[in-house]
């Protein structure tokens, strides 16, 4: 029991996204003429079954919605599941069209036995309305085949595997030749397995016999591990178009879960998320969500998107939602606070900045930095929040600066604000600098008081007075 096979029986339907509680009869169809591959519960209840021609199914169920099979989306869904499986095994291999196999030799002990490992894996892969079949078996092909049969149990060793295979129907072991074999008088898998290899190779071809050897563990069966791509891109077709931005949150949550699994498989986090809302009859709408620090917490990323969506007025109904992340960043290591009750952690600040930026726009949150320059307007600058700092002023400076020095009037030869002359304090600060970098100043600074008691910071330059700050 080294291999865990997983089988997703509903995969062709899962790649579509249906609103919660919507159980309209639907069927995934493929082929020409189209035949039913998989039908929803409500359609099955009405008599639709796999292999049925679509025309017959439509005659049976009024309002049956046929859905084309989407193999590429199914592969993408399998790959996302494989990403999640990365937690449980360093060898996760795709077993298309609807399965995965995981090498579990080492993880079994780590997770404390097969039961716990299987439980944890199924929990990780779970999704609403998703059913997963599984099997732990000594060979990868055995695990895959038996999971696809819905065995849902552990096959401990090769002799047990042999017994289980003996009970299978011929149609499972040799789907292409079952008619031929039945004509030979065979009934169950066991009858087939008892036959000599050479004879089987002659009748059913060497490839099939080789497959059987791999299935029974008589031949090596190396599996290629799945490697996640360097970028994340996932798209979800909405079964019903919606023009309510908030209705997009539910499908978005699914994409985010996949993204986070992808990020986990990479051991990284995302810093920039691009959401693409594919609108019917309009240009796709791009929403970029920037994060202050890389994250892979689905709830956090969802909160940021919700903030964007609540303010969005959609011009046209959305028919598909796409999420892209082009770069994986290393996750900032999470160091638990020594004083665990401190709610004012750095994560909290970053979360706040992001929330504000998402709604108010990039650069809506700033910090300020002091710079070593004698010119007051050059002794500071805006910077990113959390990056503020710099040297304190060496001389008295006002906590408020005007965006531009404001020219002051003159009343009886004294500088005046609103025609009221100002009272100047005797101290004077001479600043003369900057002749070398194109911003020369030659100013005398004073602290002044107006009639109401306001304390101002003013300067004289070339005989004119300016107000520059407020104490």
């Amino acid at each position: 029991m080294k291999w865990l096979g997983l089988h997703f029986p509903w995969l062709p339907l899962e790649v579509y996204h249906f609103p919660e509680g919507d159980d309209r009869p639907r069927a995934v169809v493929e082929g020409h003429p189209p035949r039913v591959l998989l039908a929803t519960h409500s359609a099955r209840a009405a008599g639709v079954h796999a292999g049925q021609p679509l025309a017959a199914a439509l005659a049976l169920v009024k309002g049956l919605q046929p859905l084309p099979r989407r193999p590429r989306a199914e592969t993408a869904a399998l790959e996302r599941a494989a990403c999640r499986g990365g937690r449980f095994s360093d060898l996760v291999s795709l077993a298309p069209p609807q399965g995965l196999v995981l090498e579990t030799g080492r993880s079994l002990r780590l997770f404390g036995g097969p039961r716990h490992l299987v439980d944890a894996t199924l929990r990780t892969m779970a999704a609403p309305n998703r059913e997963i079949h599984w099997c732990l078996a000594p060979t990868p092909e055995g695990a895959r085949l038996l999971a696809a049969q819905g065995l849902n149990s552990v096959v401990a060793d090769l002799p047990t595997l042999e017994r289980v295979l003996s009970d299978l129907a011929l149609a499972v072991l040799a789907p292409a030749h079952s008619g031929q074999l039945e004509a030979l008088g065979l009934r169950r898998g066991g009858d087939l397995l008892a036959l000599p290899r050479t004879g089987l190779a002659q009748r059913l071809g060497p490839d099939w016999v080789h497959w059987l050897d791999r299935l029974r563990g008589a031949a090596p069966d190396p599996r290629r591990p799945y490697r996640p791509p360097p970028r994340f891109a996932a798209r979800l077709e909405l079964s019903t178009e919606t023009d309510a931005a908030e209705a997009l949150l539910c499908p978005a949550r699914r994409l985010l879960r996949d993204l986070c699994a992808f990020l986990q498989a990479h051991g990284g986090a995302a810093r920039r998320l691009l959401w693409i809302l594919d609108q019917a009859g309009a240009e796709p709408l791009d929403l970029t969500v920037n994060l202050a620090a890389p994250s892979r917490t689905p709830e956090h990323l969802e909160g940021l998107l919700r903030e964007r969506l609540t303010r969005l007025a959609l011009e046209a109904p959305v028919r598909a939602l796409e999420l892209r992340v082009d770069r994986v960043f290393p996750l900032a290591p999470h160091t638990p606070d020594l004083f665990a009750d401190a709610p004012h952690s750095d994560a909290g600040r970053q979360h706040l900045w992001e929330t504000l930026e998402v709604r108010l726009g990039v650069d809506a949150v700033r910090a300020i930095e002091a710079l070593a320059d004698y010119r007051p307007e050059r002794a500071w600058r805006w910077c990113a929040p959390g990056r503020g700092g710099g040297p304190p002023a060496p001389a008295p400076r006002p906590p408020w600066l005007l965006p531009q020095p404001r020219p002051l009037g003159l009343v009886r030869g004294r500088p005046a604000l609103a025609d009221q002359p100002l009272a100047l304090e005797p101290e004077r600060e001479h600043i003369e600098t900057g002749w070398w970098d194109g911003g020369p100043v030659k100013r005398d600074y004073f602290i002044a008081c107006d009639a109401r008691g306001e304390r101002l910071w003013i300067f004289r330059e070339a005989g004119r007075w300016f107000l520059q700050g407020w104490f």
Partner: protein, 208 residues
């Protein structure tokens, strides 16, 4: 008649459920946060700024900021985030650093667009030790929301608002009128728990 008044007073004093209007209120919820000015601490009911809730500073002068700087400096040194929303002028970094503020913990939302919302986010984030909001008049429900958010976050929220926009009742725990004067600021407490005829206070800032 002998002297029944002292006896009555003694009786009343023995009853903790009866509050005498000429005494400080018996219940103190949370100790206040020192303002950094001894005279102002003495004026305020909690012995300082309330540790949580809305504080209205009714003022036309930007100098009112000086009242908050000591608290902001102390909180920043303790690693608490400080958020200023819609300041009326440019906060000048060298002066604030000289006043003891750790600028790494000062975040600013310079735009006045959606300022009350931004302040509320600051409170609800739980990340801020102090939020300062400069606004014009705000509708009562908005103010009550802010007051509630500040109480829940156990964070003081200072709202600085020109006198012309602060008519009518306020849900604030504290309302202080602030005017510039030649020595510093003139303060008048117009709303506080247990307030009973507080005298105006002249707080010298410029001349020791």
């Amino acid at each position: 008649m002998g002297a029944p008044a002292p006896a009555l007073e003694d009786l009343l004093r023995r009853r903790p459920d009866i509050w005498l209007a000429n005494r400080a209120p018996p219940v103190r919820t949370r100790p206040g946060l020192s303002t950094g000015f001894t005279a102002l601490d003495a004026l305020l009911p909690d012995g300082g700024w309330p540790a949580a809730g809305l504080v209205d500073l009714v003022t036309a002068t930007p100098s009112a900021l000086n009242l908050i700087l000591p608290l902001a400096a102390r909180l920043g040194r303790a690693g608490r985030e400080i958020l200023w929303v819609a300041p009326p002028l440019l906060p000048y970094a060298p002066a604030l650093a000289a006043a003891g503020l750790d600028l790494a913990y000062l975040s600013l939302v310079p735009g006045a667009d959606q300022a009350p919302w931004a302040a509320e986010q600051g409170l609800r984030s739980g990340a801020c030790g102090l939020v300062v909001l400069w606004t014009r008049a705000l509708p009562q429900p908005r103010l009550r929301r802010l007051q509630l958010a500040a109480e829940e976050a156990e964070t003081p929220l200072f709202r600085l608002c020109p006198p012309i926009d602060t008519g009518g009742p306020t849900p604030a725990r504290l309302r202080l009128e602030v005017q510039a004067c030649s020595e510093g600021l003139n303060l008048r407490l117009t709303k506080a728990r247990g307030l009973c005829g507080a005298r105006p206070l002249r707080l010298p800032l410029w001349k020791p």
